[in-house]
Structure formats: structure tokens, C-alpha cells
């Protein structure tokens, strides 16, 4: 890997940060304000896209800022994994922004300025997480993300929202503190915090006890955001937030930062050698498998559509974790591709849930009889992506699951394959009743007559089409598949 100095990663982080003052200043002119959001989103995406050729060619663009601790600087590096995540986050931000505008105006929500400003800060932090070159930089952005998301979670300001916010803070701040301890310990052992493909702790002769304990600390730190059981319960509670926020939380920024963190920890902090040596891969895989199954089972019990989606997210995040834990080339590729696949699919589902809520004020599945006839576009998109999550081709959920399955075989963990298959069935199981109600039951009284506003329907149709397109051509456009295999090979190939 060749290191090249460049400021583009920095600009990519700052694009949305600079938009914040502009958003705050134009709080009285909603159109102008939203223009800043869109402008920042587009700029950011273009900047991230411009990093792609270098990443594919094996060049890492880096920016070193000030030292924030002796020997550790605040530095950004656009390595393939970072670019991969940044592409998803910045690409989907454009659509989420578009959708947010429709949603917020549709509901005439208060405090829209704060909402859009926090949103922009979240995205800066997410891109910062993606491009962090070392653990301390990662932690800085990780904590900023925690704080920036809080105003979004409690946006409604109701008592229930406050309680959800408290729960969110308790979990995420505790995770942050645990992560600080893990970092300090790593620094003590390795004398460095720079991410290194193959593991920065590799080669320091860690004792088994130390390795397991340190790994558990890291896992607790990043596991809260990636909702690994039993650290998941903040996520369903946070469903109180407006739907675009849920979409952001689930698909774009927060939980994806968590699983991205897991990838970093597995591939760049511990590394495959250490993971295998101390049985950490099994620990992680077991946690992931339990989360996948329990998350899917709990999803069955939900009547509230968003809560169902939340539990579904919990299950699917652990697909990614499982992919990382398999430590096989195909498994890691599959895990990475599932970050992208789940992002496009889940964002569609949340957009659909939001569109239904804005248009018909319905939140529960039991009220959705016959809705497929009145909102054909929305429910069409919902059906396509729900099937995708269950792993039915040709949606992109199938592709990532296929690689995950291959990875399980490659790693000789057939039980993991079984978990994936069972989970696919469970997914189909909890989505089927919704689709059945929507198309085959006769509409109730207040089911409306028309489709939701175009500003909301357009993004969800786009993301649904995107999911399908990526299922048919996984490597189209931004070369997700190439990037994923490149990452897998650098992580697993080196350190031999």
C-alpha cells in the first residue's frame, strides 16, 4: 500500500461541518437552509467518489493534522475500507436529506434547523470515523457522533423521547468510556494506535487472558453501536425518533459506524492471527450468531412497524459481524457487502414506514390492510427490499448472503451457514405477513386514496432500484465488490 499525502479526506469530513453555520444562519429561510444541506451532501459525495480510483489502485491518501497526544496525531487516511464505508454513508445522505425535507415539512416539525444542523454534524463524524487512521482519531469522531445523534433521537421532545434519549446516552457514553480504557491499554501494549492491516497488536505476544479481556473491552465499545446482544436495547427505544433519523441511525451512520468499528477492530487492531490464536473469532461469531437468531425472533413479536425494522436491523448487523468473525476471504467480502446491501435495503424500508406515517399517520402493522393498492410505489419498494433482506435474488441482500455462506464453508463453520439459512427463513417469516396484509386484505376505512408526496416517494424508489441493481450487478458504479475483496485480501493476506 502506497501512502500519498492529500487533503481530500479532510475536505470530505469538513464539507458538512462547514454547512452547519450556514444552516444555522439561514434558519429563517427554509429553502436556503435546505439548499445548504443538499449542497454539502453533493459536495461530500463527489469528494468521496474522487477518492475511489486511488483506493482501488492501492494508494492511501492521508492527511495528518495536529498531534493530539504525544506520538498520536489526528490523522485521516482514505484506505479501501474507509472509502467503502464513506461511499455508502455519503451516497445515502443525499437521499436521506431529500427525504428528510419532505418528511419534516410534511409533518411541520419544530426545530428543523437544529435537526438539519445535527444531521450535518453526524455525517461529518461518520466520514471522520470512516477515514480515521488511528484509534484515537476514531474515538474522537465516534464520540462526536454519539453527541450529534442525541438531539436527533430526542427530537420530539416528549417524555418518551427523553427516556429513549437517556437510554441511548447511558449505552453509548458507557461504551465510549470503555473504549477509552481499551485504547489506553492498547497504547500501553503496542506503543502505537495506528490502524494496520493484519492487526496493530499482532506480534506483541499477548497473553491469552489479556487478549480476551482487551477484546471484550473493544467489543463492548463498538458493540453498543452495532447492537450486538445484550447491548442492543437502546436501538428499539430510539425508534421514537423521526423516521429519517431512524433511517440515518440504521442505514447510514450510527449502527454502521458500529459494525465498521468491529471490522476495524478485527482486521486492523487484532488481526486474523491473534483472533485465531486466542479463539476470539469464535467468541465474536457466537455473539453474532445469537444476535442474528434472537433479533429475528424478537422481530416476530412486534406490531409497530418501526420497532420490527429495528429488531430486523439488530439481526442484520450481526451478519456483518459474523462476516468479520469468519476470518475467511469470502466471509469478510460478504460482511462488507452486507454493510452496503443492508444500508440500501433498510433505508428503503424506513423510508416506506415514514411515508406511510406521514401520509396516513399509521405506525402499526395491523393497520396496514390493503395499503398496497393505495400506495403502490411505496409498497412495491417495500416488497422488493423486504424480499432482499430475506435473501431472495436478485436483490443485493442475496449477493452478500451468498458470499457469507461461501465464507462459512471456506472457514469450515457449517453451523454459521445453518444460522444464515435459518435467519433467512425467519426474515421471510416476519416480512411475509406485512406483504400479505398490504396486498391481499381489503382496505380499512382510513387507508387514504393516493400515494405519499413525491419528495418522499422518489428517494425510496431510488433506493429500492439501487438495491435491485446492486443485486444484479454487484460491481456496478462504485465497485463495491472489488473494494470488498481488496480489503479482505489486505487484512487476511498480510500478517502471514
Amino acid at each position: 500500500m502506497e501512502l500519498v499525502h492529500s487533503s481530500i479526506p479532510l475536505y470530505a469530513v469538513f464539507a458538512s461541518l462547514f454547512a452547519i453555520p450556514l444552516i444555522l444562519l439561514s434558519s429563517r429561510h427554509p429553502d436556503l437552509r435546505e439548499m445548504w444541506t443538499m449542497l454539502a451532501a453533493l459536495t461530500k459525495f463527489v469528494l468521496v467518489i474522487s477518492l475511489l480510483p486511488d483506493a482501488l489502485a492501492g494508494r492511501i491518501l492521508t492527511t495528518d493534522l495536529v498531534d493530539i497526544s504525544p506520538g498520536v496525531s489526528l490523522s485521516l487516511a482514505a484506505d479501501p475500507l474507509g472509502v467503502f464505508f464513506a461511499l455508502i454513508a455519503s451516497g445515502l445522505w443525499i437521499l436521506t436529506s431529500l427525504y428528510s425535507i419532505g418528511y419534516m415539512r410534511g409533518l411541520r416539525e419544530k426545530k428543523q434547523t437544529r435537526y438539519f444542523a445535527s444531521f450535518a454534524l453526524c455525517l461529518s463524524a461518520t466520514i471522520g470515523i470512516a477515514f480515521s487512521a488511528n484509534l484515537l482519531t476514531f474515538l474522537v469522531f465516534y464520540e462526536i457522533l454519539t453527541i450529534a445523534t442525541y438531539p436527533l433521537v430526542i427530537h420530539k421532545g416528549s417524555l418518551a423521547a427523553l427516556q429513549a434519549g437517556r437510554k441511548y446516552l447511558v449505552y453509548t457514553l458507557s461504551a465510549g468510556v470503555i473504549l477509552i480504557i481499551a485504547l489506553a491499554w492498547t497504547h500501553q501494549i503496542a506503543g502505537s494506535l495506528d490502524f494496520k492491516a493484519g492487526g496493530l497488536l499482532d506480534g506483541f505476544g499477548l497473553q491469552a487472558g489479556t487478549a480476551v479481556f482487551l477484546f471484550v473491552l473493544f467489543l463492548a465499545g463498538v458493540g453498543v453501536k452495532s447492537a450486538i446482544m445484550p447491548l442492543h436495547s437502546w436501538l428499539p427505544a430510539a425508534m421514537i425518533a423521526p423516521t429519517p433519523v431512524s433511517a440515518l441511525l440504521h442505514a447510514v451512520a450510527v449502527v454502521k459506524s458500529g459494525v465498521f468499528g468491529v471490522m476495524r477492530v478485527v482486521g486492523f487492531v487484532f488481526g486474523p492471527v491473534l483472533m485465531r490464536e486466542h479463539g476470539l473469532d469464535f467468541l465474536l461469531a457466537a455473539a453474532a450468531a445469537i444476535t442474528i437468531l434472537l433479533g429475528s425472533l424478537l422481530a416476530f413479536r412486534q406490531d409497530n412497524l418501526k420497532r420490527l425494522l429495528a429488531y430486523s436491523t439488530i439481526g442484520h448487523l450481526s451478519y456483518v459481524v459474523l462476516g468479520a468473525a469468519l476470518l475467511s476471504s469470502a466471509g469478510m467480502t460478504g460482511g462488507l457487502m452486507h454493510i452496503a446491501a443492508h444500508a440500501t435495503m433498510k433505508i428503503t424500508l424506513f423510508f416506506c414506514a415514514g411515508a406511510i406515517y406521514v401520509h396516513l399517520r399509521k405506525e402499526n402493522i395491523s393497520e396496514l390492510d390493503g395499503i398496497g393498492k393505495t400506495m403502490p410505489w411505496t409498497m412495491g419498494a417495500f416488497t422488493v427490499t423486504a424480499l432482499g433482506l430475506a435473501g431472495i435474488p436478485p436483490v443485493n441482500g442475496f449477493v452478500s448472503k451468498w458470499f457469507l455462506g461461501l465464507g462459512a464453508i471456506e472457514a469450515d463453520h457449517l453451523w454459521a451457514l445453518a444460522v444464515l439459512l435459518v435467519s433467512g427463513l425467519l426474515n421471510a417469516g416476519y416480512f411475509a405477513p406485512i406483504i400479505y396484509r398490504a396486498y391481499f386484505r381489503t382496505p380499512g376505512k382510513n387507508s387514504g386514496t393516493s400515494e405519499a408526496p413525491a419528495m418522499m416517494v422518489a428517494p425510496l424508489v431510488i433506493t429500492a432500484l439501487l438495491s435491485a441493481a446492486l443485486g444484479i450487478l454487484p460491481n456496478a458504479g462504485v465497485h463495491f465488490h472489488d473494494l470488498a475483496t481488496l480489503i479482505a485480501s489486505t487484512v487476511l493476506g498480510s500478517g502471514r
Binding site: V66, D67, I68, S69, P70, G71, V72, S73, L74, L139, V140, E143, I144, T146, I147, P151, I154, G157, L162, G165, R166, L169, L173, S174, G176, V177, I178, I180, I181, A184, W185, H187, Q188, G191
Partner: protein, 500 residues
């Protein structure tokens, strides 16, 4: 002139402190500008001194030309020049802020108030600069006397709080003096640099041991080290807003500085740790302070009182860094002295803004209207509060980061756990305030008038200091490595571990 820098810093303050009552006799309006000029000038000298020390190394100033150890010397080295800049750098915005606040709360006492403020600063900078144990006692008492007076200018209960502070503060100073006497009896010297050479010969004799312990207890009282903190909450709560925002960030920190000087530099770290278990005891007291201070802070319903208990906890962090007695621990302690001064300064200033504009700082009566009326003050409060909780990249995170590093380095897992717990509890009491200020629906809906939601922000002279200190927190956070390399690393004794 550069030669005289060490003495110019306190001398400017002293001169101003004398001039203020005289000029104030002619016109009350002169007091504040004079105080500003004096503080500003001496801040300039302090920065100049710091720059000189960084470029050319420490400088020593022999008062009256007497050569130490006979004469008293002032020492401007990395540690002390940095401390003077911190003290005056925090004092300046606080004094800018003080005018409107003190005019509103105690219009009769404006002139003496600013005079006393300058005396306090004189005492604090003197403590930091002096290289003589007895001279330190004198400055300690100057600053303490000024502190008692500042506390006494407050609400109805203030004199009682001040009297308690006085009794305990004097006890602390007397212990310290007795300790100095015992050490002097055995060594015949009061000069710190001189003592470094003399002490190893006599340090195992009972008088020196007793003297050292007495000095640590005395300083512990002044720095409000748990369980010697009992005077602090009342003193900070009942003092005027302006008085507490000057005392809280500075008073206890300077005592912590004395502890560092004394325990780690005059006496050696090995002595304080291995021969006596003083450092271990300090660590345990620090644990107590962090936990008890944080929990008591959660229980408070008045903002200044909550901040006061939070100070007890923060002093615990500083003491923890000192007690660990390692390079990283000292870095953490010094950084936390600085960061906490800035954070607490900002927080107390916001409390002053609230008292001026809303008329109270009762947490139970906080609601969403505060944020609407005073968006900038609450923004400043939020930044400082997040820094206290330890959210990167704000300054408060980094001092904790070094403390955690230091604890891990020594396998002090209990310390790691206590720091983590303390951070989480501080998140509880700060987020409680933030939640109320930003989200709680207005309580007095029935009596709500239009003006309640209209802007009611504090005047600029009270707003700019708050904003300056909060922006300072971001800058200090990002530049912490620069500060460590330039100012803290050179003061680490050569035989300690290297700065990583």
C-alpha cells in the same frame, strides 16, 4: 526589563490592588478599568515570561539582590510560567464578566471587590512563582485572606460560609507552617532548590517525616482534597457569582500545584511513594473525592452547589495524577489543572449570567425557556459541560485520557475503574441540566408572557468571556500535545520515564 519579569507579574497586581481603593475613592467607575489594566498587563508579562522560558530556559530572580539560600528567589520555570499564564488567562475573562454581575448583585462593594480580586491574583501568582517555602506561606495566606473576603461578599449566609472557610483554611496554613518549621529545623534552609540537595541527608529523621506529612495535610485542606473539602461547597455556593467564578477555577488548582512542587520536586517522588506511603494515600483520597464528589453533585438542586461538588471530584482527578507519580500522571494532572480552570470558569460564568437574567440558578426551575432566552450562554454551558464529561476533542477528554494511560501503565485498574465511573456520573448530572435547558417544556405556562420566549441574552461583556473560554476548550483540546511538548515535558525530572 526582561530580567525583571518574574517580579513584574506579582508587582503589577500588587500596585493595582493598592491603587484601586485610592482611585475608587474618587470615582467608583475607575475600579473596573483599573483592575482590567492591571490584570491585562500582568498577563502580558506572564506570556512574555512563558515565551522566554520556552525559548531560553528558566529564569531566577533574587529579590533585593540577596543570593539564595539567604534571600528569597522567584523562579520562572516551565511549570510556574505556565501556571501564571493559566491563572491570569482565566482571571481576565472572569474579571471582564464580573463588572455587570457585581454591579447587579452588590453595587455597594464594587471598589473593594476588585481590589480584593487583584490581591487574590497577587497571592496566587506569588505562590506559583516563589522558590521559598516560607514566602509560599505568606502568599498562601494573602490569597486565602482575599478568598475569605470574596466569599463574604455574597448572599445572606455568605459570612458564615466565609468564617468556616477561614477557620479550616487557617488550620491548613498553620499545619503547613509547622511542617515548614520542622523541615527548616533539620535543614536550615527554606529555599526549594537548596532543599532538593539537603533533604536526602535528613529525610529519614522523624521531624522531616512529620513535617512533610503536615505540609501535605495543610495543602490538602487548601486544595479541598477529599475528605478535607467540607468548606468548599458552602463557600462557592454563597459567594457572589463573580467571586465564585474567580475562586472556583483558580483557588484549589494553585494548591494542587503546590502539592506537585512539594511532593514530587522538593521532596522526591521515591521518597513520597516508597518511604512514606503519601502518594498511595493521595490516590485513595482521590478515589474518594471522585466518587463522593460526583455522587453528591448529582444530589444537588442548585447549579453553583452542583458545580462546587463537581469541583471536589475534579480535584480528585488532579490528585490522582499526582498520586500516580509518573510522567503520564503528572501530564494528566497538569493538563487537568489547566482544563478544569477553563471549564469551571466557563460554567460558573454561565451561572452568573443565569442569576443576572433569570434571577436564580435552581436546577428544578430550569426549562426550555432558558435556552430560548439565552441561546449563547446555554451553548457555552453545553460545550463546557461536554468537556467536563470528557467528550473528545474537547480539552476535558485529554486530561482524562492521560490519567487513564498513566493508570494502565501502572496496572492500577482500580484507578481506571474510578475514572470511568466518575466520567459516567458526571455525564448524569450535566446531561440532566442540558436536558432541562434544551427540552423541558416551560413550567410556568399559565403565567408565561411574550417576553419569556423573546431573547433575554446576557450583555456582551458577560457573553464574550463565556464564548472565549468555551472556544478555548476546543483549542486547548486540539493543541494539548503542543502544550505537553513545549511546557510540560521539560519539567519532567530526567530520571523519570520519558514522555512517550
Amino acid at each position: 526589563m526582561e530580567r525583571h519579569l518574574p517580579v513584574l507579574i506579582p508587582l503589577t497586581l500588587l500596585t493595582t490592588a493598592v491603587v484601586i481603593p485610592l482611585a475608587g475613592g474618587m470615582s467608583k467607575r475607575l475600579a473596573h478599568p483599573l483592575a482590567m489594566v492591571g490584570t491585562f498587563l500582568s498577563l502580558v508579562f506572564a506570556i512574555w515570561g512563558l515565551a522566554r522560558v520556552l525559548l531560553e530556559g528558566p529564569m531566577r530572580y533574587h529579590l533585593g539582590g540577596w543570593i539564595p539560600p539567604i534571600g528569597i528567589e522567584l523562579v520562572l520555570d516551565h511549570l510556574s510560567s505556565m501556571m501564571t499564564v493559566i491563572i491570569l488567562g482565566v482571571a481576565l475573562p472572569v474579571l471582564i464578566h464580573a463588572r455587570k454581575s457585581i454591579e447587579a448583585e452588590h453595587p455597594e462593594q464594587v471598589v473593594p471587590f476588585f481590589g480584593i480580586c487583584l490581591l487574590l491574583l497577587l497571592g496566587l501568582t506569588g505562590i506559583v512563582l516563589t522558590g521559598d517555602l516560607f514566602n509560599l506561606y505568606v502568599f498562601l495566606e494573602i490569597s486565602s485572606l482575599a478568598g475569605y473576603a470574596l466569599v463574604a461578599v455574597g448572599d445572606r449566609q455568605a459570612p458564615v460560609a466565609a468564617f468556616r472557610y477561614l477557620i479550616l483554611g487557617t488550620a491548613g496554613a498553620t499545619f503547613y507552617l509547622l511542617g515548614v518549621g520542622l523541615v527548616f529545623m533539620m535543614t536550615g534552609s527554606l529555599n526549594m532548590a537548596d532543599l532538593v540537595g539537603l533533604l536526602p541527608h535528613v529525610q529519614d529523621s522523624p521531624p522531616v517525616i512529620v513535617g512533610f506529612v503536615l505540609m501535605v495535610i495543610g495543602i490538602g485542606l487548601k486544595m479541598a482534597l477529599f475528605p478535607l473539602h467540607v468548606w468548599l461547597p458552602d463557600a462557592y455556593t454563597h459567594a457572589s457569582s463573580a467571586g465564585s467564578s474567580l475562586l472556583a477555577p483558580l483557588g484549589t488548582k494553585v494548591a494542587a500545584y503546590v502539592l506537585i512542587r512539594l511532593a514530587l520536586f522538593v521532596f522526591s517522588r521515591e521518597y513520597a511513594r516508597e518511604e512514606l506511603i503519601v502518594l498511595d494515600v493521595i490516590v485513595w483520597l482521590a478515589f474518594g473525592g471522585i466518587i463522593a464528589g460526583s455522587i453528591l453533585a448529582v444530589a444537588q438542586t442548585e447549579m453553583k452547589r452542583m458545580l462546587a461538588y463537581s469541583s471536589v471530584a475534579q480535584i480528585g482527578y488532579i490528585a490522582l495524577g499526582i498520586g500516580l507519580g509518573s510522567t503520564l500522571g503528572l501530564i494528566g494532572a497538569m493538563l487537568h489543572i489547566m482544563n478544569h480552570a477553563v471549564m469551571k470558569g466557563a460554567l460558573f460564568l454561565v451561572a452568573g449570567n443565569l442569576r443576572l437574567k433569570i434571577g436564580h440558578s435552581d436546577l428544578d426551575r430550569f426549562d426550555y425557556s432558558i435556552q430560548q432566552q439565552m441561546p449563547w450562554s446555554t451553548a457555552g454551558f453545553s460545550v463546557a459541560a461536554l468537556s467536563m464529561v470528557g467528550i473528545p476533542p474537547l480539552a476535558g477528554f485529554f486530561s482524562k485520557w492521560y490519567l487513564v494511560l498513566a493508570s494502565v501503565e501502572q496496572n492500577a485498574w482500580s484507578a481506571v475503574a474510578v475514572i470511568a465511573l466518575g466520567s459516567l456520573i458526571s455525564a448524569v448530572y450535566f446531561f440532566r441540566v442540558l436536558e432541562r435547558v434544551y427540552l423541558r417544556p416551560p413550567l410556568a405556562m399559565g403565567t408565561a408572557t411574550v417576553s419569556q420566549t423573546a431573547s433575554n441574552e446576557a450583555p456582551l461583556s458577560m457573553l464574550i468571556p463565556v464564548i472565549a473560554l468555551s472556544v478555548g476548550l476546543i483549542v486547548l483540546g486540539l493543541l494539548n500535545a503542543v502544550i505537553i511538548d513545549a511546557a510540560i515535558a521539560p519539567l519532567i525530572p530526567a530520571r523519570w520515564e520519558k514522555v512517550p
